[in-house]
């Protein structure tokens, strides 16, 4: 083995390989065909079509004309649209922060020595597995104005005197859907962060303990920095999903009362499908794109940082 220099071996292998991989470009194209066909027709093309639709006055069942930025300028004067932007922002910011805090806390708890650990872990993930609409129906019932179990318990305990109108009052409705969103999102954050926690070597904690670090210090100076790349990615996904959420709102409030819980996605559905103004709906959907691009860039840099931390990188 020492006779042949390493570069020679590699060159021989490479020339053999390149001969065998002759035509791998053609082969690659053939293998890509099924995925590419579906993604180009049903993802890339609609993405472009959606951008174009947003600049037309297309109605359901009719061809539209190009009207440039008119949809956007009329949206700029549309108070319901701005309310939906406000709701979307509030919903995303509040729900994401609480999901993160609660998810991280739960991950740290699950990382402890626990009996029935794997069963508990499996249970924690349930809200994420069960179809969102179906669990949202359960929340809808929990928030019922007359038969809410939450109101009943609070009345029995003497905290309140009359039943809470969860979905009839604008702010109550906003908090109610935010709680449902947190319920649905915490498992994803918790389990993913738990996976991240388990990659941190225990010896780091032992060394820190020997140096006299307190629990809080170990968390601040070991756990958080080691976890930050995965936190960046998880939170990007979480923010992305919350920002573009449709199912929870549509099921629990349909945007009501008086548009108080309309998100951009539900308003876009209402204008485009229920109202028949495809062009206007598409314009609202397109208005979400700048936010998404920011979130994606954030995720991209999160990934880069992770590669850098692992000593990878290309």
């Amino acid at each position: 083995m020492t006779v042949l220099a390493e570069p020679t071996v590699r060159r021989v292998r490479e020339s053999q390989l390149s001969r065998m991989l002759d035509g791998r470009n053609t082969l690659g194209a053939m293998f890509m065909l099924p995925a590419a066909a579906i993604l180009l027709l049903f993802l890339a093309y609609p993405l472009v079509l959606g951008l174009w639709l947003g600049m037309t006055d297309t109605k359901i069942g009719g061809a539209g004309r190009f009207i440039g930025w008119n949809n956007f300028s009329s949206l700029a004067k549309d108070t319901v649209f701005w309310l939906s932007v406000f709701n979307t922002t509030l919903y995303t910011v509040v729900a994401s922060i609480i999901k993160f805090a609660l998810g991280l806390y739960l991950a740290v708890l699950l990382n402890e020595r626990l009996p029935f650990k794997s069963i508990i872990r499996a249970i924690v993930l349930l809200p994420f597995v069960v179809p969102t609409v179906l669990s949202a129906i359960a929340f809808w019932w929990i928030y019922d104005s007359q038969f809410s179990i939450v109101s009943w318990v609070l009345v029995k305990l003497g905290f309140i005197h009359s039943y809470i109108d969860f979905l009839g009052d604008p702010w109550n409705a906003r908090w109610s859907v935010i709680v449902a969103n947190i319920w649905r999102g915490v498992p994803f954050v918790a389990i993913t962060l738990l996976a991240g926690l388990q990659t941190i070597s225990p010896s780091l904690y032992e060394a820190a303990t020997l140096d006299g670090a307190s629990n809080a210090q170990r968390f601040r100076y070991i756990t958080l920095p080691m976890l930050s790349p995965i936190i960046a990615v998880v939170m990007t996904f979480s923010v992305l999903l919350t920002f573009t959420d449709f199912q929870l709102i549509y099921t629990i409030t349909r945007g009501g009362p008086i548009n108080a819980t309309h998100l951009m996605a539900t308003l876009s559905f209402q204008r485009a499908i229920t109202g028949g103004n495809l062009g206007e709906g598409a314009a609202i959907a397109n208005a979400m794109i700048p936010f998404l691009v920011v979130a994606i860039l954030f995720s991209y840099f999160g990934l880069q940082r992770r590669k850098w931390q692992q000593g990878g990188g290309e």
Partner: protein, 291 residues
Amino acid sequence: MTAIDNDIEGMAYLDRFPRRLLRLYLPLGLILFFLLFPFYWMATTTFKPDAEMYDYEKYNPFWVAHPTLDHIKKLFFDTDYPQWMYNTVVVSVSATFISIFASVCAAYAIERLRYRGSRYVGMAIFLAYLVPPSILFIPLAAIVFKLGLYDGNLALILTYPTFLIPFCTWLLMGYFRTIPYELEECALIDGASRLQILTKITLPLSVPGLISAGIFAFTLSWNEFIYALTFISSSENKTIPVGAITELVNGDVYHWGALMAAALTGSIPVVILYSFFVEHYVSAMTGAVKE
């Protein structure tokens, strides 16, 4: 998943029980209660007769005094529910198979054939994964209509892969990367074709990855809502989530018992599947984020 049961807190045994109770079990118990309560409430409502459901004075709402199967019976015999269940199964299974097939080919090509530009395609796949259905459903509705697929299972079977393929491809790329390249080189030297290598070496070695991708794709399809709501109009073509939300509500009359029964029975298939493959599910979920 890496070793789950590593004891991170090496000296945790020094903790006295009362302290652990307060610091660990109590908060954990509260969070678990919060996470599980909606399911409990779903289940009790399903089996409660109407008289108990609307009377909190005479009956304790947390218990079912006289369990009944009436709501489930109503759901199965007086509504299109069995048809929705059938549609959901057909759509989820077909979309999953199409996606796995397309993703295996694509991931193999990107990761192993390394054709020119494959790195950029890999990047594009990741970006496609981040495109949310809520900005695609309007133009997709126009396309579905133009292709004559409106109000049929095929509309869903063909559009669900748009969010399944990016996910599965990304997952399988990571999986294929863990299989030693040398195995394929040896087979190539022995004269195996690319297709033989894929079916005889790569795929058998990546069965866990395939299961992960399959389970995840299936639950994502089962869960899908906005496309099914937009592309389907007649009751008998709906999927469970859409049917439950649009057909079980007559004007202002909510059939809570039937709604809860639909929510419960519509969740059970995915939960059963999930409980069998929990490890795969978790590794798919975390893997896709960590890649």
